[in-house]
């Protein structure tokens, strides 16, 4: 107990140096907590964007179509009928189902042309799976029922389009002949998803099927499941496909979102790297502090040895001191982290300086990135920080305590 008291009292010596070390550790901790919150937020937003605007929780497609889905082929399609729809709706965990016909098109406004992803949807079904309806800045989803199209705000801005304007979608039919879909813009959405905002054009499914000459076929189905029911639904769906002999397969959003998964992997290594730097900063600070303290207190260490203190007892005094620095640094860092993370959760950080659209970097987020709360990270970094402070003090403390008592006592 006395060693603990002495170690803690030693914190009051060299106040300026200790405060600097504590602040360095605190800012390193704060940086880590802030970055971790941002990166988690980015991942969470990316996942939500993918699920809420592009894929739903599960997608169903022909395996061959799935392989080539980025090229938007009109082969290996699904024959869509009410029986299949009814069966799939009854699958365990499924709460929404949207048939889609995805196709490649060139959108022409009469002056400019732009390559886009056309998606034929049934508004009523689409709304069960996706959240696009909540992001209209002009018009509404009912535009699709009136055989009008819905486009993203960015696309509208680029092509100088507004509601009620007419556009032509130049498409290739299933037989590879050219055709057009002439539609009036009935809605403009501004979602958090760059693909939806920049490149997607929603049109009525029936219209798309007719112009692409695919009859009652669709390219894939997007499903929304109840929370945590993805795996159950997939198993049920696979069973259903086997039972009916359908050449279909179900895929989770994870399989659709390679970029997001890559982001998550990069995030993990990024966070690991940040954590390593943070811990390294803490270690260097503590080691520097203990070495300097050991040098300054040489004759005091000699006196402790003369009093009969064993080396590990002297080491313990230094370890208490280092742990104290770690605790203060960690505590202040966590307090700063609370403030910083709270701010970034509420306000987010605008990435307009990067052009705002981060899909170019593989991150399906527009404009702001919001942080997330992760209470366990605070505990984790706090206790890990203390542990590392304690651990990094051992070697310099042992170096200090191992001095020859005679040389130490008479050291000036």
């Amino acid at each position: 107990m006395f060693s603990i008291k002495l170690g803690l009292k030693n914190l009051s010596r060299q106040k300026r140096r200790n405060i600097i070390t504590i602040l360095v550790i605190a800012f390193a901790f704060f940086g880590y907590l802030f970055m971790e919150s941002m990166m988690n937020g980015m991942e969470e937003m990316s996942i939500d964007n993918i699920k809420h605007f592009e894929t739903g929780n599960i997608q169903i497609a022909h395996p061959e179509y799935w392989e080539d889905r980025d090229e938007l082929p009109l082969e290996h399609l699904i024959e869509w009928d009410s029986e299949l729809g009814s069966d799939l709706r009854q699958t365990e965990g499924v709460i929404g189902l949207s048939p889609e016909l995805r196709f490649s098109a060139n959108l022409n406004n009469g002056i400019d042309e732009m390559r886009v992803i056309g998606v034929g949807v049934v508004p009523e079904n689409y709304n069960q799976v996706f959240e696009t309806q909540d992001y209209f800045i002009e018009g509404s989803m009912s535009a699709l029922e009136e055989f009008r199209a819905v486009i993203g705000e960015q696309m509208a801005r680029l092509l100088d389009l507004t509601i009620n304007d007419y556009v032509i979608l130049l498409v290739r039919t299933k037989e590879d002949t050219f055709n057009t879909i002439d539609v009036e813009i009935g809605g403009i959405v501004k979602t958090l998803n760059p693909v939806m905002n920049n490149r997607m054009v929603l049109v009525p499914l029936e219209l798309a099927q007719e112009r692409l000459n695919v009859e009652d076929h669709i390219t894939m189905l997007s499903l929304k499941t109840a929370s945590g029911e993805e795996e159950t639904s997939i198993q049920s769906l696979e069973g259903y496909f086997r039972q009916k002999g359908l050449p279909l397969q179900s895929y989770t959003w994870r399989e659709s979102a390679a970029n997001v998964i890559a982001l998550a992997v990069a995030k993990k290594s990024g966070i690991g790297a940040i954590l390593s730097v943070v811990l390294l900063i803490g270690m260097v600070g503590i080691i520097n502090n203990i070495i300097l303290s050991g040098l300054e207190r040489t004759s005091e260490i000699g006196m402790m040895k003369a009093l009969g203190m064993k080396e590990w007892e002297i080491v313990f005094v230094f370890m208490v001191e280092a742990t104290g620095i770690g605790v203060f640094g960690g505590f202040i860092g966590c307090l700063l982290g609370l403030v910083g993370v709270n701010w970034v959760v509420k306000n987010g950080i605008s990435f307009r300086f990067m052009g705002a659209d981060m899909s170019a970097y593989g991150i399906p987020i527009l404009d702001r990135i919001y942080g997330t709360w992760n209470g366990s990270t605070f505990y984790y970094i706090f206790f890990l920080g203390i542990f590392v402070a304690l651990l990094s003090s051992i070697f310099p403390a042992y170096w200090a305590a191992h001095k020859d008592p005679v040389e130490a006592i008479y050291h000036r």
């Binding site: 002495l6 040895k305 009969g308």
Partner: protein, 233 residues
């Protein structure tokens, strides 16, 4: 059985390729309760001898027995334990811990022994501080004490654990003559009241007047070893 016995103790320091003998064969016996002064010019080996007796250093040759136990070939850990329980030190520059109060500096030594209950320990520390004339100054830190008061704290720290022997290396060297007399009188008092054995080194002829045994070291050897009548108290 003598409290301390040194038999042909030699200490040779290696400085590069040169061997520097600090002690050239010391034979010495100290009985319990003695108040002994080691004096001699600088470099005569006073500090080296005290370090050997105090288990801070080991001799190159020879044997040292403390309380019947041979201490000259103990391990570092065993030496630390011997210092903890048997030896008290008083240093020229006090070597107090600046962040601790006078009370805590003394408490530190007795806590290492760890034999007493909390209340008993507190009483003992306070009694010892009162004995050395520091009553009322218990809560002062070293930087709030004069040189003489600091040295009294060091004396209390050395005495509080009731060691067999107290070694003081020029304890008055940093003090003015009046304070030095005061400190040495304090040591004499403790020697007389508690029966603790004191061995201290000094240059100061005034201080030597308090000793009951004088050992003169010259070139690492004892040139004079004589018991003297009490001249001052």
């Amino acid at each position: 059985m003598p409290l301390l016995e040194l038999k042909k103790v030699k200490k040779i320091y290696q400085q590069g390729k040169i061997k520097v003998p600090a002690l050239r064969g010391i034979d010495m016996v100290v009985e319990e309760g003695e108040f002994t002064t080691i004096f001699g010019p600088s470099g005569s080996g006073k500090t080296t001898l005290l370090n050997m007796i105090g288990c801070l250093d080991t001799p190159t040759e020879g044997e040292i027995h403390l309380n019947g136990n041979k201490i000259s070939d103990l391990s570092r850990k065993e030496l630390a334990m011997t210092r903890r329980f048997n030896i008290g030190f008083i240093f020229q520059s006090y070597n107090l811990i600046p962040v601790l109060t006078a009370y805590e500096n003394v408490e530190f030594a007795i806590r290492l022994i760890g034999r007493l209950a909390e209340k008993e320990m507190r009483e003992k520390v306070l009694d010892m501080l009162a004995e050395v004339g520091l009553k009322g100054l218990e809560n002062r830190r070293p930087n709030e004490l004069s040189g003489g008061e600091k040295q009294r704290v060091a004396i209390a720290r050395a005495l509080v654990k009731e060691p067999k022997i107290i070694l003081a290396d020029e304890p008055t060297a940093n003090l003015d003559s009046e304070t030095a007399q005061d400190v040495i009188q304090n040591m004499v008092k403790m020697n007389r009241e508690l029966g603790t054995t004191f061995i201290f080194s000094t240059h100061d002829p005034q201080i030597m007047e308090y000793a009951r045994r004088l050992i003169n070291l010259k070139d690492g050897m004892i040139s004079v070893d004589k018991k003297v009548d009490l001249r001052k108290e």
